[in-house]
Amino acid sequence: MKWMKTSIVELEQVTKIYEGKVMHRALNRLDFEADAGEFIAIMGPSGSGKTTLLNIISTIDMPTYGRVMIDGIEPEALNSNELALFRRHNFGFVFQDINLLKSLTVEENIVLPLTLDGLPIMEMQKRVDRLAGQLSLKEILNRRPDELSGGQAQRTAVGRALIHNPKLILADEPTGNLDSNSAKEVLELLSLVNQTERTTIIMVTHDPIAASYCDRVLFIKDGEFFNEIYKDERRQTFFQRILNVLSLLGGNVNDLRML
């Protein structure tokens, strides 16, 4: 049935070389495709090029060679202004170190992307209230980031990523700094969004449990495609299969900590 789906991200033979005192090939002839509505995890050992891949998809970085197509648009054809606006309207970001703006309250952090586009105040308020309900942030809307628990902060960040109904959510180790309960909360939230809103999510992660929430896991190593597996009926077996690939992949001990 694959030909029926529309792909939102298409990477073809993407290579990224960092010039510098030491030349470094971060990605090498990598093909990648994400269909609309998919929830994808990217895994790989440290230094395998996960973050570079995510940066290229998020149009922060341009490939040295190869073709990138996001939602039918080639980022390289846009100038930096158009790119910024493109990101603002189509992407939502969730970071490992959460990166809420310290000076803003929870509510203000969530509404920030909308204020930049100058939406009517009523509309903004309506969207914040609805999201706050879904993310159970209602009670803490007026707190500041330094008064939040890790889970609350990351939920706020997810709220900020969702407020403008983006087509694509890019998450870089969203559970990296969270305890297991908060991590579970955030992951369930992401998969709920993925199922109800049909929002595409691409998530870089080290954590096989996090990856087990996804539809598909892409493994890369040294900047190249290594393997790819799809989920099955049970999360438990999917998790086992992920672990199997990881053990083949080697990498650092950190990746095997679940064994």
Binding site: S58, I60, S80, N81, L83, A84, L85, F86, R87, R88, H89, F91, F93, F95, N99, L101, K102, S103, L104, E108, V111, L112, P113, L114, T115, L116, G118, I121, M124, Q125, R144, D146
Partner: protein
Amino acid sequence: MTFRQFAFRNVMRNRRIYAAFFMASVFSVMVFFLFSMLLFHPSIEGSALQDIAVLGMGIAEIILYIFTMFFLFYSMRAFLQARTKEFGILLHLGMEKRQLHRLIFIETFIIGAASIGVGTFLGYMFSKFFFMVVKRIILLPALPLYFSWEPFALTVGAFLSLFVIISWVAPVFIRTGKLDELIRGEGGGMEVHGFSKIRGVIGLVLLGLSYSMAAFTSNSIVIGLIFLLPPLVTLGTYLFFTDSLPFILHLFKVRKEFYWRHFRLLAVSEGVIRLKENARMFFIVTIVSTIAFMSVGILASLTSFASQYREMNPLGLVYESFPGNELEQDHINRLGYELRKNEIEYTYVRFPVLKQRSSLTDYDVMILKLSSVNRLSKSFGNQAFELLEGEALFLPPTASTFEQLNRQSVRTVLEESGIEVRINGAYPYQLFPAHAIGTNAIILNDADYEKLALLVEPSSIYHAFDIPDWQKTKNIGLTIEHSVTESILTGTRSKLHFTFDNPGLNYSVIRTTFTLLLFIGLLLAGVFLLAAGSFIYFRLYTSLDSDRKQFDVLRRMGITDREFKKIVNRQLIPQFFVPWGVALVHSSFAFLSLQVIWDALAEISIVRELIMVLVGFTALQVIYFYLIRWRYLAHIRSPE
């Protein structure tokens, strides 16, 4: 790598942070050195004017020294606190506290030595130019560049001692808390969101009260205000930055329809944080800027005093002789001779001043003859007046009293002689300096004056010299001037039965003094300006890391370059211009009350000079803003 090399490399690699601090220090050293070059100049030897110059520069040096001390203390503290994390790592790696102190001592000392070296060098480079300016101001024939050890010794000695003191004290500023807190940097979360409404309101009330007092002051209470207002305003300013401004911004934030608009959300919330973190610094910058504005403004207003001096002293030379003066004819002849010898054109009019008691007011009235007044007036290019017998005119003592006297028409009898006159209106031209012929004087028609002159001896004789080239007279009548000075010094002033006034000479002294003070003041203000900017730059630098992170988030989120610039503008502009604006408002109100003093003294307006000073400072500040924004943007965009 030895310990000293480590310290040296620390300085070299932190040079971007040190840059503004270094610049301000260098400038301070340079100005100090220039002043000392003049202090020790071999061609300066004790004329009154040169004494003023030396005294002015000496005082300026002391001010500069004290100010630099505070500046260094403050900067050093901010700088060391910004490096808390680095020190935490060093301690973690096992450096002893004692060694850390030595490290900071050496670093501070390197910066100090470099600023002194560069400052003195630049100072010497610029001293030729500096001497050219000073030479013109204090009217010396020559002020050559010289080389002597003394100015070098003074500058190096003064600043070296300063830096040694700072280097010793600096380690005290390091936060020595728990190691892990040091390493995490930033330290304990300051309560940055709170403010007190009451204190905020008190701040606004204090400022409002001071402003209205300054604006509506009258001559009688202005002296009291001079002592009352500065503490009030200082306290008010402090509360304004710590509580009133956050309070006002809070009121703004509550209204989402204003607050949730484009960049306001980011700019205002960031602004509040910066404000709270830096309230004390803004307070200091405001007070320093106010003092700088005030001192330059006051000096400029004194210069304005000099330029309006001519209007107050329309006559070139004035010699007034009282009964019993044997030297009168001799002096007048000498003045005339010296004027002719120096080829200075002049008109001489002799006014015998008669004194009578007015029956109407029971006060003494000074009486001048109409034809003499007309003769003097003609040399100014004015029309002659005519009066019939029995008529007279008021002679207004100052220009501002003309309107009022001109409306009056009175009849009176000059009591001693019994002559009846009708005084109708006032004489419109200002021929004499203020109050020259007393406060109560009239111009009498010639016929009545002649009658009166037969009956009474003149109470004094007023010799007026009208000289169009009045500034050329500074070498005229020096012997007369000298005998007056001598009599004052020996306490025999009462034995001299004359006064002598040479506005040309007085003017050159006044003008020179004020120009000199203004010049010194501008140099000092320059140092203040650089220092204030350096504080701000410093603060920006210490928060650069977190700013950079924030920039990265915004960039991903999709903020265009122009939008980012706008956000930075909205964050930087208040930091630069709010203290500036408050200082401007402070000094404007201060000048309002100053104008009251000037009105009482000399009826002059200082508005024009003030506007020039304020515009000049603002222009400098704008340039400084763009310079620092350029650096800030460059740093924040570069990844590390």
